[in-house]
């Protein structure tokens, strides 16, 4: 197909062809998808129609993966990735991207096309999922149930493929079992079972601000009306943000969440694995990333403050936490947080990070003050629920769904996690400033080949550090471990260790005269102030 355009391959047989088994497997999988499609047209299937369809999809992926990996040497093999249409932005990739995008648009904004009917019996594909939904939660299916089922199926089936591909690497194997477990148990089954028990729909590992609805008024009412269980859920949600998350990130880096627990990460690591090399590694993409992800974080903080503010009462007699108390303690928390970082972590922040943080803080405080002192009742010019609707539309749906997953085959598998996820932004700050996690480089062994950077789904130019003998300590690193796996010289290792010398900007490559290395280290240190061009 379009492989010759993208590389120098003019050869007869680049390894981009499917063999017979793989063709049959593809056929089986697509038959499963075809049944789903048929159901859209209200072709009626018996109850086992759904099982048949999901079964065929899973079977197709499993047969394909078995053929591709079993009986072959156990080592990472990325042969021909840049030659295949599907993984090098060829026709297949664009087609898949567009189909996924259309699916997301219908899912988010026109679920009725899928057959969703909140006022009566479902039809179409939603009806196909009714029996399964009734079995688990006792309720008819919604578009979210359909989506959740397919999402879980993708993580499990492609997780199996991932397990085979990386079976030589126990870190990858254990990590993948973890994401499969959390998706199936916590993200998919647990909330549905809670519904069956008449409890609030709740997934304890879907943490605010990734779960931006946790403090929405409908959700808070649901929690409060559920009594002790509901209060426990809220408390656990708050503890996750302020206690559990920082502690785990301190010990293990943000990977404990992003590539071991999170569902978005789970899909990216499994179904998205063949697209990891498509992430943009340029310095300009990195700059863009830093601005946009922190803007989303500010947006979600503002939105949540607004939502809770409008939920609360004015009267301290009703509840000690009044609008005013909440508002000024939030402002106080933000100022304190900002001040502590600026005081204690000053040397670890780049100039533009300090500038951006200051701008963000001033803007938030200014808006709060203007609204508060003008007494207009809204705290960010608009009502909290309005902000939440916009956030849901632009960030929750358009960014994380349509762009985040729909564009896997074009921009890579972690677009949402890298550019949009506010949870990743918070964990990233913790990882950069308060964690024991780092990727260590091995002496002077780097040969600058670029496999690490190429296969970094977060677009980190890993090589830029490795070829200077510096550890990689980046906010965005989700600790997937693939850089270390594809390294042909054993240069990279993910590690938790003492914080001392974790960030070694004066690192040098070993091997040369020790006096010369000392001199180079000194020169690097004295250049540090002026050096911005990564010499």
């Amino acid at each position: 197909m379009s492989n010759t355009k993208h590389n120098m391959s003019l050869a007869g047989e680049p390894p981009n062809r499917l063999n017979t088994t793989q063709k049959i497997a593809t056929g089986i999988g697509w038959t499963g998808v075809f049944i789903l499609t048929l159901s859209l047209f209200n072709v009626s299937f018996p109850d086992w129609g759904l099982w048949l369809s999901l079964g065929l999809i899973a079977l197709g992926v499993i047969i394909f993966a078995n053929d591709q990996y079993l009986g072959k040497p156990t080592a990472v093999k990325n042969n021909g990735i840049w030659f295949k249409s599907m993984t090098s932005r060829g026709v297949l990739a664009w087609g898949t991207g567009i189909l996924l995008t259309l699916f997301y648009i219908v899912l988010y904004w026109h679920p009725q096309y899928l057959g969703y009917n909140p006022d009566g019996a479902n039809s179409g594909i939603i009806a196909l999922f009714d029996p399964l939904s009734r079995m688990i939660s006792g309720l008819p299916a919604s578009q979210w149930f359909v989506y959740g089922t397919l999402y879980t199926l993708a993580i499990l089936a492609f997780g199996y493929k991932f397990l085979l591909k990386y079976r030589h690497n126990r870190y990858e194997v254990i990590r993948t079992f973890s994401v499969m477990f959390f998706q199936l148990g916590f993200a998919f089954l647990l909330p549905e079972i809670l519904m069956r028990l008449n409890q609030p729909y709740y997934n304890p590992v879907n943490i605010w601000p990734l779960n931006y609805d946790l403090f929405a008024d409908y959700k808070l009412q649901e929690f409060f009306s559920a009594g002790n269980v509901g209060v426990l859920m809220i408390l656990f949600g708050i503890a996750s943000i302020f206690i559990i998350t920082p502690i785990l990130t301190y010990f293990y880096g943000k990977r404990w969440y992003c590539s071991w627990v999170c569902g978005c990460g789970g899909l990216a690591e499994t179904a998205g694995d063949p697209y990891r090399h498509l992430s943009d590694k340029s310095r300009s993409a990195w700059k863009f990333e830093r601005w946009i992800i922190h803007s989303v974080l500010v947006f979600v903080v503002v939105m949540t403050i607004g939502v809770i503010y409008s939920f609360l009462n004015d009267n301290p007699a009703d509840f000690w936490l009044t609008k005013d108390v909440f508002l000024w303690s939030s402002a106080g928390f933000l100022v304190l947080f900002f001040a502590l970082i600026m005081i204690f972590k000053k040397d670890q922040l780049a100039a533009d990070a300090k500038k951006a943080a200051t701008i963000f803080l001033v803007v938030i405080l200014a808006i709060i003050s203007v609204n508060y002192f003008s007494g207009n009742g809204n705290i960010f010019f608009f009502h909290g629920s309005q902000l939440r609707t916009w956030y849901g539309f632009f960030i929750g749906a358009a960014f994380s769904g349509v762009i985040g997953v729909g564009f896997y085959p074009i921009f890579g598998n972690r677009v949402w996690c890298r550019f949009g996820c506010p949870m990743a932004a918070i964990l990233g700050m913790q990882q950069r400033l308060f964690s024991r996690f780092r990727i260590t480089t091995n002496g002077g062994q780097c040969i600058s080949c670029g496999n690490c950077s190429t296969y970094c789904e977060m677009g980190i130019d890993v090589r830029a550090y490795a070829q200077k003998g510096e550890n990689i300590v980046r906010s965005s690193c989700v600790g997937c471990g693939i850089c270390a796996d594809v390294c042909p010289r054993g240069v990279l290792k993910l590690e938790n260790g003492p914080r001392e010398k974790r960030i070694n900007g004066d690192g040098v490559l070993l091997g040369n005269d020790v006096d010369l290395l000392d001199l180079i280290r000194e020169q690097k240190q004295s250049n540090k102030e002026t050096e911005s061009s990564r010499l």
Binding site: T74, R283, G490
Partner: protein, 432 residues
């Protein structure tokens, strides 16, 4: 009016030349020009194979983006230098154009070694060193069914792995009785040979190339081995080593032998002309190293060293303890210190292999002093820093064995084998 900065010109944009340029820029404001006939930008030569195998695109093997060169004021020029006039300090390009320099660094690398075989210039016969070689290989693999690789070694096994991904059948002619035996001890060489063969590559040991036979179109049709066997093939990969790329110096004042002769300061026989990397031949012996070392790491270290000297901090080229690395299909290899292929006097080897035949270790030590001499490790990653320290501090074998786990650099959750290695060595030791 300030004086114009000194102009440092570097010929060759490989790792030696580019490392020199980067380090000169770090500590000086000299004008820097890097000239290359091969490519517009620096790329990782060791990564050429990954482009062919579809792991990476050409852009991926370039370690720096374009802004890097502009922001760091490193001027790049794509041209071939034809002649040097060292008396007038002028370079003359193929196009006739000229360039002045104040200091010149030669970093022209190496070329595949040929030894005058009959048919070595036929179509379909090639080595793999340059970007052009890679382009040629793409061309030569079109419709290719069978390839013969002459010589083992690192480029040979890379070629084998590359061609293997295109479903091209590969036979390697190896002079010794096992793969890379002139570098690896017998058991290590056998271990790697077995691994290469497990991928379906045919290894013919004790065999050399006699001649290459062409067809009427001037393309290779077959080869004849030293054992009289005729092997039909469409492609012949030459990998019996590399030689310094110095032919453009033949009319210059610069003294050469196999490579460009340099003193311990990497200075050539002509003032203000230095040389680094593969093209260099040391006049003075540096510990147990070979006078010509065509290795990524030594090229880099020469680049680091010459940058200081050019900027006025006169530094001897004095590389530290030997280390190297490679990957043979799926098995990574690292080495620290010296493990000679055939033990020298008072040197003894301990060898351990994992039962799955994917991991192995050989440790060399001195039987008299008990000193640890070096390690070859296959399929187990080890820390360079730790071994560098142990070697410099001349630790004993026992110390190394009891502390081996501190040197491990495998990913988290990997199985560890220190105990097994320790007891296996103990058995060997008792037996010997």
């Amino acid at each position: 009016m300030s004086k114009e900065p000194e102009h440092v010109v570097i010929i060759g944009n490989g790792v030696a030349g580019i490392t020199a340029a980067r380090h000169i820029r770090k500590i000086s404001d000299k004008r820097i020009t890097v000239i290359s006939a091969e490519s517009d930008y620096f790329f990782s030569r060791t990564a050429l194979m990954y482009v062919y195998m579809g792991h990476m695109k050409w852009k991926n093997i370039e370690p720096y983006e374009e802004w890097f060169w502009k922001e760091n004021r490193i001027e790049l020029k794509r041209a071939r230098v034809e002649k040097l006039n060292t008396a007038a300090k002028i370079l003359i390009f193929e196009s006739g154009e000229q360039m002045d320099y104040d200091k010149l660094i030669l970093a022209t690398g190496s070329l595949p070694r040929k030894i005058g075989w009959e048919g070595e210039n036929l179509k379909g016969v090639q080595g793999l060193v340059t970007k052009q070689d890679l382009e040629l290989l793409e061309e030569n693999s079109q419709g290719c069914k069978k390839a013969v690789i002459v010589g083992g070694g690192l480029i040979g096994v890379e070629l084998a792995e590359m061609l293997h991904t295109r479903n091209i059948e590969v036979t390697m002619l190896i002079r010794e009785q096992s793969f890379w035996r002139n570098v690896l001890p017998e058991k290590d060489a056998a271990f790697i040979s077995e691994h290469i063969e497990s991928h379906g590559v045919e290894l013919e040991f004790g065999t050399q190339l006699d001649k290459i036979i062409g067809d009427e179109t001037g393309r290779v049709r077959a080869i004849l081995t030293s054992t009289g066997e005729e092997i039909f093939c469409d492609l012949v990969g030459l990998s019996i080593g590399v030689v310094p790329n110095i032919s453009f110096l033949k009319d210059s004042e610069i003294e050469t032998n196999v490579g460009i002769l340099v003193d311990p300061y990497l200075q050539t026989s002509v003032e203000d002309v230095f040389a680094v990397g593969d093209c260099v031949q040391q006049r003075e012996q540096i510990d147990d190293r070979s006078p010509v070392e065509a290795v990524w790491y030594t090229a880099r270290m020469m680049g680091e060293t010459v940058a200081q000297t050019v900027c006025g901090n006169l530094f001897r080229y004095n590389p530290g303890k030997w280390f190297n690395s490679a990957k043979f299909f799926d098995i990574e290899y690292q080495t620290y210190g010296r493990v000679w292929p055939d033990p020298k006097e008072d040197e003894q080897h301990l060898h351990w292999e994992h039962k799955n035949r994917e991991k192995a270790i050989t440790i060399a030590f001195n039987t008299k002093s008990g000193k640890f001499l070096g390690i070859n490790t296959f399929g187990i990653r080890m820390k360079h820093e730790v071994f560098d320290e142990w070697l410099r501090e001349e630790k004993g074998l026992e110390f190394v064995l009891t502390n081996l786990r501190n040197a491990n650099f495998d990913p988290e959750f990997y199985s560890r084998h220190e105990k097994e290695i320790f007891s296996s060595f103990k058995e060997d030791f008792v037996r010997s």
